[in-house]
């Protein structure tokens, strides 16, 4: 599914957070949404997921404006995975994943055989079939994140929107999750903090800076020394890792510019001795 943002503006308590972003995610693409803390990534993602109504601007799914759509209609198109969604610790994993069928169920009916088949397929897709009957509280962080992904897949959406899904995951689970996302046929828009992970798994990147789109394009075009310095305030260079995969190498945070050469260097009293 094609997701389009046209001049999207959104404010929280009067303070503008997203300040007019136009961007597009093409069908089947895996797109990373990057930016420093407070750049408006999560807010933009929520606008695109239909969870926040933009103050102005338009969000389109396959060209149709979603303004005025009810939650159910949106939920059949787009699934959303929050950073750390809690759950009742007693719920079984299969029940959590089964909640993904909510947008298709009537109030009067319980889950039927078709729902159970979709849930089983989603659990299989993320490799959690063996844990289907476990209570939620017995799951590790990585398993919970995968269960939420299965829940999102059970919604049978045409696009998956995820907010920092790799947070709190160890290296192996990070790689597994990103491989799963890159391998899904659905359109994927994922907020990431790990630039190397973004460089490696995303088709394209959107880079946000103070609520505006600073750059967008293939990882090589977005993760440049200049943009990294300007947006993230780090001294970093895009460099392939030891295995030759795209990655980012950091020298460190950028310091305030050094005083111009020739200027007198302040000398403290103790240095004069």
């Amino acid at each position: 599914m094609r997701i389009t943002a046209e001049e999207v503006v959104w404010s929280a308590a009067g303070a503008p957070v997203v300040r007019g972003v136009s961007a597009e995610v093409a069908p089947g693409e895996t797109v990373g949404l990057l930016g420093p803390n407070g750049s408006g990534k999560s807010s933009l993602l929520r606008c695109l997921a239909g969870l926040r109504a933009p103050d102005s601007g338009t969000v389109r799914y396959d060209g149709e404006s979603v303004r005025g759509w009810d939650a159910r209609r949106i939920a059949r198109r787009v699934a959303f995975v929050a950073q750390e969604a809690g759950a009742d610790g007693e719920l079984r994993v299969a029940d959590v994943v089964g909640l993904g069928r909510t947008p298709y169920r009537s109030r009067w009916r319980g889950p039927d055989a078709a729902d159970r088949a979709v849930v089983a397929a989603a659990l299989d897709r993320v490799g959690l079939t063996a844990l289907a009957d476990r209570p939620w509280k017995a799951l590790s962080g990585g398993e919970r994140q995968r269960a939420h992904l299965a829940r999102a897949l059970a919604q049978q959406p045409r696009a998956l929107l995820l907010d920092e899904p790799t947070n709190h995951l160890d290296v192996r689970h990070r790689l597994e999750l990103m491989e799963l996302l890159a391998g899904t046929p659905q359109t994927v828009l994922v907020v990431l903090h790990d630039l190397s992970l973004a460089a490696r798994y995303c088709d394209r990147l959107l880079l946000l800076h103070r609520g505006r789109l600073a750059a967008c394009g293939p990882p090589a075009d977005v993760l440049t020394q200049e943009l990294l310095a300007e947006v993230f305030e780090v001294d970093a260079v895009p460099a392939p890792d030891a295995l030759g995969r795209p990655s980012v190498a950091y020298r460190g945070p950028l310091r305030p510019a050094p005083p111009p050469t020739g200027a007198p260097v302040p000398v403290s009293a103790s240095d004069e001795k």
């Binding site: 969870l51 949106i74 959303f80 995975v81 759950a87 007693e90 029940d95 993904g100 947008p103």
Partner: protein
């Protein structure tokens, strides 16, 4: 399957409990007396009971036991719903401050001496409950009705009306009135009559059905607003609907029999432990368990220190505390 078995068993136990509880009290009533009272009304060829005994069974005991069942179901389901809506395991039906409003209304009516006593208290309590709930909604009107705001605002409203109740009592009530009001505040089934049972019987099933139809939404709300909304749940509408439903159910229950504590807190936890947290199953089972729980605690309140009667709220708390501890222990939360 386990849930269906539990529900069927619960319905059977409830019916048996109601029948058995009618016998319990200061005056002895035998099984044959109960059968004769029912049989006579159903037009069966049975020997009618002496009028005094018949009146005791039919006009006092039966409405009281039915009231206990209705109020028990109502409070337990309200507790379960509010625990999910506020994502707070300690939520109970009184969290919204509705019972405090009801107390203020009831006390005001008693002190001012408006209306005939029993109906006046009920009416005053109902008005007080609705006023406090209106204030709650007014304070919440511009918010997204998120969990913590509901809890905090409910506590504020509750404290305000508790203070008002104390003020009215201290300023103008004599010792006898204070004693009567205290009895009501602790909760007692004694005022239940057919007219109040009828109101409860009309409102409670509707409220329970409305809550049950929100089962899936209640499951989804456990994940927080954003995830719930992304599942296609109209979060704000659902929360508002459920607040109104629980407030009305609580108001009707409290107005008749006072603020019976603890049933709404422990019964949902106990049932969740037995049948799991999915509300589609949890709510009906909670309703049955709450009904059975209050029927028996009320029977105990009548019988334990007969002929003196203990307020049922005292009994629910005395039984509830150890039960609550047991459930928390078994769930590994304590």
């Amino acid at each position: 399957m386990r849930a269906a078995a539990f529900a069927l068993l619960g319905a059977g136990v409830l019916a048996a409990s109601v029948a058995a509880a009618v016998r319990i009290g200061t005056a002895d009533v035998g099984w044959t007396d109960v059968a004769r009272a029912f049989g006579g009304r159903l037009g069966l060829p049975v020997e009618p009971l002496p009028p005094l005994l018949d009146s005791l069974v039919w006009d006092l005991r039966l409405p009281r036991v039915l009231m206990a069942a209705l109020v028990g179901a109502s409070l337990a389901v309200c507790g379960a719903v509010l625990q999910a809506v506020t994502r707070n395991a300690l939520a109970d039906p009184y969290l919204l401050g509705v019972s405090s409003g009801a107390s203020t209304g009831a006390v005001t009516v008693v002190v001012l001496g408006i209306g005939s006593h029993a109906l006046g208290v009920t009416g005053g309590a109902l008005v007080g409950a609705l006023v406090s709930f209106a204030l709650l909604l007014l304070l919440l009107r511009r918010t997204g009705l998120d969990s913590s705001r509901i809890v905090l605002t409910g506590v504020v409203v509750g404290q305000l009306f508790t203070a008002l109740t104390s003020l009215v009592l201290m300023a103008s009530a004599d010792a006898d009135t204070t004693r009567a009001v205290t009895h009501w505040l602790l909760g007692s089934m004694a005022p239940a009559r057919w007219n109040t049972v009828a109101v409860c019987a009309a409102v409670t099933p509707l409220g329970l059905a409305a809550a049950w139809l929100c089962s899936t939404a209640l499951d989804g709300l456990a994940f927080g607003s954003d995830t719930a909304a992304s599942l296609g749940i109209g979060v704000r509408h659902t929360r508002l609907l459920l607040l109104v439903v629980t407030a009305v159910l609580t108001a009707v229950a409290v107005a008749t029999v006072g603020a019976i504590g603890f049933a709404g807190l422990i019964v949902p936890h106990g049932v969740r432990f037995l049948v799991g947290p999915l509300h589609r199953v949890l709510l009906p089972c909670t309703a049955l368990a709450g009904a059975v729980f209050l029927v028996w605690t009320d029977a105990l309140a009548r019988a334990a220190f007969a002929p003196r009667e203990v307020p049922v709220g005292v009994v629910t708390a005395l039984l509830g505390v150890p039960l609550f501890l047991l459930v928390l222990r078994r769930r590994g939360e304590l």
